[in-house]
């Protein structure tokens, strides 16, 4: 290797550096590929199902015995039904999983977007302005943390969903999904807001902030153009770690009967149904459950990989 080539330093953007670090993390790459596949399947659900000749709604009695239990082993797996059929109805599980992923990912991704948006803006605002704004936002967070959020979500659902309908949201599942998204945002923004506040508190003491202030920048300019661009790394990390949590919560809601309702497919709904078939058809518990676990795991691993790639600080700890 010649002397100049080893000395030539190639300029790399922080994003490129992060991507190079991310690529080294094999687990994260596998997880990224897996989650991308699931997202793609969910996005193109009608075409995928047509291609596989499966349908989430059509009932198939031929696969069930007289008491409604799949008549072949492993929950009725066959060439026609790759992951078996639902006991009782004979609907195809793979198709229902693909359509269920649609609901689950829609709720999780939209809710993550609004949670992050609200948390980032309020957090930076509080940390940058301090004083009374900080006080109000801080006390609101204290208040929200004091409430048993799951209980409130459950008990307000029967009231708030009709209200959303009267506000113009389509009745049924869209209103139910909107409610979940709204309430997750309402209770979810506090965590990222506290992280952002801490970051903004230290950034506001830096020279470039003082310079912008001296040239007469308004608060909105300071928040969005001066402070926010420095915080993309933690924002991406926290947003990516919010998604798996929300996927799990959405499944929990539909497990409790608060999410989308049949015939629309939902992962939590299938698991709630599976309780009745514990003894006769355990595959109905394991297949949707494993799917849910793998999807949450994949998103968690991607988030972890991003955290390691974007925040190399962790490497510096000394050995004891």
């Amino acid at each position: 290797m010649s002397l100049d080539s080893s000395l030539a330093i190639e300029g790399k953007s922080p994003a490129q550096l992060a991507w190079i670090r991310f690529k080294k993390d094999k687990v994260a790459i596998v997880a990224l590929v897996f989650s991308t596949i699931i997202v793609t399947l969910a996005l193109f659900a009608p075409w995928v199902c047509a291609l596989l000749k499966i349908d989430p709604y059509s009932l198939d009695n031929t696969t069930l015995d007289s008491v409604g239990i799949p008549n072949s082993p492993f929950g009725g797996m066959s060439r026609a039904h790759p992951l078996g059929v639902e006991p009782g109805t004979g609907r195809d599980i793979l198709a229902r999983l693909i359509y269920g992923a649609r609901t689950s990912l829609t709720v999780a991704l939209i809710a993550t977007f609004f949670t992050t948006l609200l948390g980032v803006i309020l957090g930076i605002w509080a940390g940058y302005k301090r004083g009374i704004v900080d006080g109000i936002i801080g006390r609101t967070i204290d208040l929200l943390l004091a409430f048993p959020s799951l209980l409130l979500i459950i008990s307000l659902a029967p009231v708030m969903q009709p209200r959303l309908v009267s506000m113009g949201f389509p009745e049924g599942n869209p209103a139910r999904m909107t409610y979940i998204i709204l309430i997750l945002t309402l209770f979810g923004w506090t965590y990222i807001a506290r992280v952002m506040r801490g970051q903004a508190l230290s950034l506001r003491e830096r020279e470039f902030v003082a310079a912008a202030q001296a040239s007469g920048a308004k608060t909105s300019y300071m928040i969005f153009k001066e402070i926010l661009p420095n915080l993309w790394a933690p924002i991406i990390v926290y947003a990516s770690l919010t998604v798996p949590g929300y996927i799990a919560i959405e499944a929990t809601f539909s497990f409790l009967g608060l999410g989308v309702v049949a015939p629309t497919a939902s992962w939590g709904g299938m698991l709630a149904d599976s309780i009745r078939y514990f003894r006769s058809d355990p595959a109905y518990l394991f297949i949707p459950g494993t799917a849910l676990f793998l999807l949450v795991l994949a998103f968690n691993l991607v988030g972890d990989g991003l955290r390691d790639a974007l925040d190399p600080k962790g490497e510096r700890a000394q050995k004891v």
Partner: protein, 330 residues
């Protein structure tokens, strides 16, 4: 220190007042009429109206609020003459649906929830902190990989799925346990534990995962502090450095979060309790939602908020007494 404690307690009381007002306002939007729920089969509009007056729901919201708050401290009586009855202090109202004082229903549900909370907290703190310490001490080695792997595994299992899996594996498949029927600890400690083992682990697995991460990250961060470097430099034994310096420095934020998690759990583990059919606060809450039993929902919300706010204040005070920087900052 005394000034900090007084200020923190004053803020706690302020927050409790705000929480109670917010709860009252929030639930006043529910289109539930406790007066008609209590009426039974042979109901007439007159009866409902009479009930409403007896329960105080005819009053303006602000009066209802003050009567309710007074009831918490002084107890509350309903109705007049022969039909009068009362709920002694602390009274959180009366459930006509069940014909019971809310406080009594909550007191009946608390033992199961407290048993669940204490047992699972012991398991998750031991497992979580233990794995975290092992992981941090062996950073990058196989022990670290296994611990962090287990943690992410636990974090990715939704609570209700863990519960269902444990029921399937241990009750239906291996038949190690009978289907849980909760027994009071004093009646039969063995049956009590038998009914609670699976719920304990259900709650503990998710939380332990979180604590493993917190402990590991906290310890690794403390290891890069100057005072740890000094301790190593002056030749203290490795074990002593880890326990006295690193773990001690890393444990404070964990105690803070543990205090809050335990307080939240005392308000009832809705998912775990309903999956296992434990007669605790969480199941009471879920049943009350199904029955539209408004007074009970309000009562449980307030009690849970009370646990969280008080735990928060206690943890802050504890923290301040351990770390003088906290006092000076605020």
């Amino acid at each position: 220190m005394a000034r900090f404690v007084v200020r923190r307690l004053a803020f706690m009381i302020f927050l409790l007042a705000i929480v109670s007002i917010a709860t009252f306002l929030l639930f006043s939007v529910l289109p539930v009429d406790p007066a008609s729920l209590s009426c039974g089969q042979h109901c007439t509009p007159e009866k409902i109206a009479a009930n409403r007056i007896r329960l105080g729901y005819d009053q303006p919201l602000i009066n209802q609020y003050f009567t309710f708050m007074k009831g918490i401290f002084a107890g509350r009586s309903y109705g007049e003459g022969a039909q009068a009855f009362s709920c002694p202090a602390p009274s959180f109202g009366y459930s006509y649906y069940r014909g019971q004082c809310v406080t009594e229903m909550i007191t009946n549900a608390l033992p199961a929830t407290i048993s669940l909370t204490i047992g699972s907290a012991i398991i998750w703190l031991t497992m979580g902190i233990g794995l975290g310490v092992i992981s941090a001490m062996n950073k990058g080695k196989i022990q670290d990989r296994v611990s962090t792997g287990l943690a992410i595994f636990g974090l990715s299992m939704p609570t209700f799925f863990i519960g269902l899996l444990l029921i399937y594996v241990f009750i239906i498949w291996l038949q190690i346990f009978p289907f849980p029927s909760y027994t009071h600890f004093l009646d039969n400690p063995f049956k009590w534990a038998q009914a609670l083992v699976l719920p304990w682990f259900t709650v503990a697995i998710v939380s332990a995962a979180l604590y493993t991460r917190l402990t590991r990250d906290g310890m690794l961060e403390t290891m890069s502090e100057d005072y740890v470097r000094l301790a190593i430099a002056k030749g203290l034994p490795r074990r002593k450095v880890l326990v006295r310096y690193v773990l001690r420095g890393a444990i404070t934020p964990i105690v803070t979060i543990a205090g809050l998690d335990i307080a939240v759990l005392l308000g009832g583990a809705i998912i775990t309790e309903s999956v296992f059919g434990l007669p605790g606060m969480g199941r009471l809450a879920l049943n009350s939602v199904t029955d539209s039993d408004l007074p009970v929902i309000v009562g449980i919300t307030l009690i849970t908020a009370f646990f969280v706010v008080v735990a928060n204040a206690l943890v802050d005070i504890l923290y301040a007494s351990l770390d003088p920087r906290v006092r000076l900052e605020s």
